[in-house]
């Protein structure tokens, strides 16, 4: 039951992008087209779920060795390596997706969401299962926000946006409305 609550909480209530502000760069950068948004989502879910599992083990190891202060360095290196592997994997299995994602794939490394999830898991002292579920759910929340946003942006291409607002500015204002809508989910679940 608790796992289901963690899932709902991460996806709707403390949505990674819209209320925790993690993962904004790809959120703004990859949401122009639906295809790249979906592709990015799949890659992010994969990377974050795997990294949640990996970083949990490393965190336990570091703490038991009294080297807790090395967490940041170890986590980010692991994430960088993981992203390299995923990049390699996608290149082999789906070259078109690889092309579509372009530079955004290696940029998953600097996606605050990936490192953020790992840090949150260690801070909240989640168990292994809880960490992986939290990671997976946060990534789903990120993807949901990303895909909704991409759908809106694709529509906005046909709208008459005033010149200063074109591009990033109007996207941010749209994001704020989306964030406002998601605020309605607060208090939905009592964890």
């Amino acid at each position: 039951m608790r796992l289901l609550l963690i899932f709902i909480s991460a996806v709707l209530i403390n949505n990674f992008v819209l209320s925790r502000f993690l993962g904004i760069c790809p959120f703004l950068g990859v949401s122009k087209k639906m295809d790249s948004a979906v592709g990015m989502s799949i890659a992010v879910i994969f990377v974050i779920t795997l990294s949640s599992a990996l970083t949990w083990f490393l965190n336990q190891l570091l703490i038991s060795l009294g080297l807790g202060f090395l967490t940041i360095i170890v986590f980010i290196l692991v994430i960088a390596v993981l992203v390299q592997f995923v990049e390699f994997f996608i290149k082999k299995t789906s070259p078109s997706l690889y092309q579509g994602l372009g530079i955004y794939l290696p940029l998953i490394t600097t996606n605050c969401a990936v490192l953020g999830v790992a840090l949150i898991n260690s801070q909240q002292n989640y168990s292994f299962i809880e960490s992986v579920v939290n990671g997976f759910s946060s990534a789903v929340g990120f993807s949901m926000a990303l895909i909704i946003f991409a759908a809106i942006r694709e529509r906005m291409e046909f709208s008459d946006v005033p010149a200063p607002f074109k591009g990033t500015a109007i996207s941010l204002i749209t994001a704020s409305l989306l964030s406002l809508a998601f605020m309605g989910f607060s208090g939905l679940v009592k964890l």
Binding site: N14, F69, I73, L77, L191
Partner: protein, 231 residues
């Protein structure tokens, strides 16, 4: 192959050097870090150990080091000490101080608020077998809405939870909105408190969930103390 080994070794060399430097900074700052952590923990405890509305301490002195503070631990557990069905918790560790012919429990508890747990520290005085709540400090309310629930940290709101007499605690603490009364004068507020009704609707307009979380937390503390045979 030799190339890979060479680059691998260079990378390892950098990691070892940086790891060593970071470890150095860690060792140098550790005493200061521990001190800062301790001071933040003890400032809330010191505040609730003061008689409500005054600067007078209920006990001889407040511990000034982590070891001394640990000497006052009365109960502790791996996770939380107790969890109620509504999600409120009594957290570990629980301290007990000896005061002037009374015992003071300093208890960390939480209730389920708007966006997460609202964590408080409270000093409960046990004198002649009767328990009263002296004062609370709210130490974590970061998930509550600024301007609404977050106002739980204001002095005038916390003060409403101070000095709840034994009769009030026995009845069960509730916020006035949940009981449907609104006191008009200071005497009425005080009387309601003796019945367990805490007036928050005038100092925290538009926010009931957060003070209710605190009330639930206090009730859970009473439930726990009863279960442990303390009262």
């Amino acid at each position: 192959m030799k190339d890979y080994i060479k680059t691998g070794l260079i990378l390892m060399a950098y990691m070892v050097v940086t790891g060593f430097l970071v470890a150095l900074v860690y060792v140098v700052t550790k005493p200061k870090v521990d001190e800062a952590d301790f001071r933040s923990k003890v400032s809330a405890i010191e505040s609730v150990l003061k008689k409500a509305g005054t600067d007078e301490l209920l006990v001889e002195s407040v511990p000034n080091s982590a070891e001394k503070l640990n000497g006052y631990i009365y109960k502790k557990a791996e996770g939380e000490l107790f969890k109620a069905s509504n999600g409120s918790k009594v957290l570990s560790p629980l301290y007990k101080f000896a005061g002037k012919n009374q015992e003071v429990y300093v208890i960390t508890f939480s209730g389920v608020g708007f966006g997460g747990d609202v964590v408080c520290v409270g000093a409960f005085i046990k004198q002649d077998g009767v328990l009263t709540l002296n004062k609370i400090e709210v130490i974590n309310y970061s998930n509550e809405t600024p301007g609404l629930g977050a106002n739980i940290s204001l002095e005038q709101v916390k003060e409403r939870f101070s000095v709840i007499p034994g009769s009030g605690l026995e009845n069960g603490v509730k916020v006035n909105k949940d009981v449907g009364v609104t006191a008009q004068t200071e005497e009425e507020i005080k009387y309601n408190k003796s019945q367990g009704v805490v007036q928050t609707s005038d100092v925290m307009t538009g926010a009931t969930i957060t003070p209710r979380a605190v009330a639930n937390g206090i009730n859970t503390v009473i439930e726990y103390l009863r279960k442990e045979g303390e009262i």
